[in-house]
């Protein structure tokens, strides 16, 4: 994991204030900059730096892909240690695999599959099982109680 970088107080205030509620107006950065008493150019530069340094993964809309006709699931594999990198490469090669994390557990590989067409998830899972010879544990969400991040920067 990469080491946390340093940000100044204003950077942190900007990140916290821009959790949501981006103003849908012609000059949104002018409006946001006014909250912090800075100019829109400075705000844009700071956002650009936060994106480039990796403090922000993205700046923009967060889509609910399932509402767009797509499907999403969380899947897990129990990968033998000596095959770990090989299997990671296979799993990551699927464009439908959006995220993939190594975790400390017998279930040591957890990945998110996003597809645009209903029914495609089953095919991706089958393909990964065929290619790896391992069982994929499909854990689609049955209920969503919360999604978001309320951590203070």
């Amino acid at each position: 994991m990469s080491k946390p970088a340093e940000y100044d107080v204003l950077d942190r205030q900007i990140i916290n204030a821009l959790h949501g509620g981006f103003p849908i107006v012609d000059e949104p950065y002018v409006e946001i900059a006014s909250w912090f008493n800075i100019g829109s150019q400075e705000l844009i530069e700071r956002l650009d730096n936060l994106l480039k340094s990796g403090a922000l993964t993205r700046f923009g809309p967060l889509f609910n892909s399932q509402r767009m006709g797509g499907e999403v699931t969380l899947a897990a594999l129990c990968v033998p240690e000596h095959r770990y990198d090989e299997i990671a490469e296979i799993v990551n090669s699927y464009r439908q695999v959006a995220h993939n994390y190594q975790r400390e557990h017998a279930f040591n590989m957890w990945f998110v599959i996003c597809t645009e067409v209903p029914g495609e998830i089953k095919k991706v899972i089958q393909a990964i099982e065929d290619e790896t010879g391992l069982k994929v544990y499909d854990c689609p969400k049955e209920r969503e109680y919360f999604i978001g991040l309320r951590l203070q920067a």
């Binding site: 946390p4 981006f22 922000l56 957890w110 209920r143 919360f146 951590l151």
Partner: protein, 170 residues
């Protein structure tokens, strides 16, 4: 602008173009909706209207900053998983979802006998000790309805992409 509010929540081809144009982010220019409009081929006013509609009906969860929690110092990321009574999981899932250190809280299927857990709560903290503390707090909340739990720490990001649409819309 919202006088002709759309009722259906399906997205059409123009919405898909907007999704495609903005999935990497809102342009960091003075008039970002003009820039998106140019790419999509409609007016900035229609872009703004359609974004409002998609926000209203939940196709867009929010528009804003997506922080990388590792870079913010939240380096301990524990996926806590819980074996909760089926008839209690909804009630308690809602409660655990309100905790401010839980970023995702879902009910998922068990895979018996190897995977008995049906409630997933992602815990973010600055140290593993802090994750353990927060998990202990959740365990207290679930006392009497939960048989067992584990925390799966992430040790490596193998892949991470925010992209959802892969092809330029027709």
């Amino acid at each position: 602008m919202k006088s002709i509010k759309k009722i259906d929540t399906e997205i059409d081809e123009i919405d898909r173009r907007i999704v495609f144009a903005t999935q990497k982010g809102i342009p960091l220019v003075e008039r970002p909706f003009d820039a998106i409009a140019k790419q999509v081929g409609i007016t900035a006013n229609e872009i703004k209207y359609r974004l409002e509609v998609m926000l209203d009906n939940g196709i867009i969860r929010r528009i804003g900053a997506v922080p990388n929690h590792y870079h913010l110092g939240y380096v301990a990321n524990g996926m806590s998983v819980w074996d909760v009574d089926d008839d209690a999981v909804d009630e308690f899932g809602e409660i655990i979802g309100t905790l401010d250190y839980v970023s995702h809280c879902y009910k998922r299927p068990r895979h018996l006998p190897v995977w008995p857990y049906n409630l997933f709560a992602m815990i973010h903290a600055k140290t593993r000790a802090e994750v353990e503390e927060k998990a202990a707090a959740i365990a207290t909340i679930l006392e009497g309805v939960c048989r067992n739990h584990e925390i799966l720490y992430s040790t490596r990001i193998l892949k991470k992409t925010g992209l959802r649409l892969f092809n330029t819309p027709k």
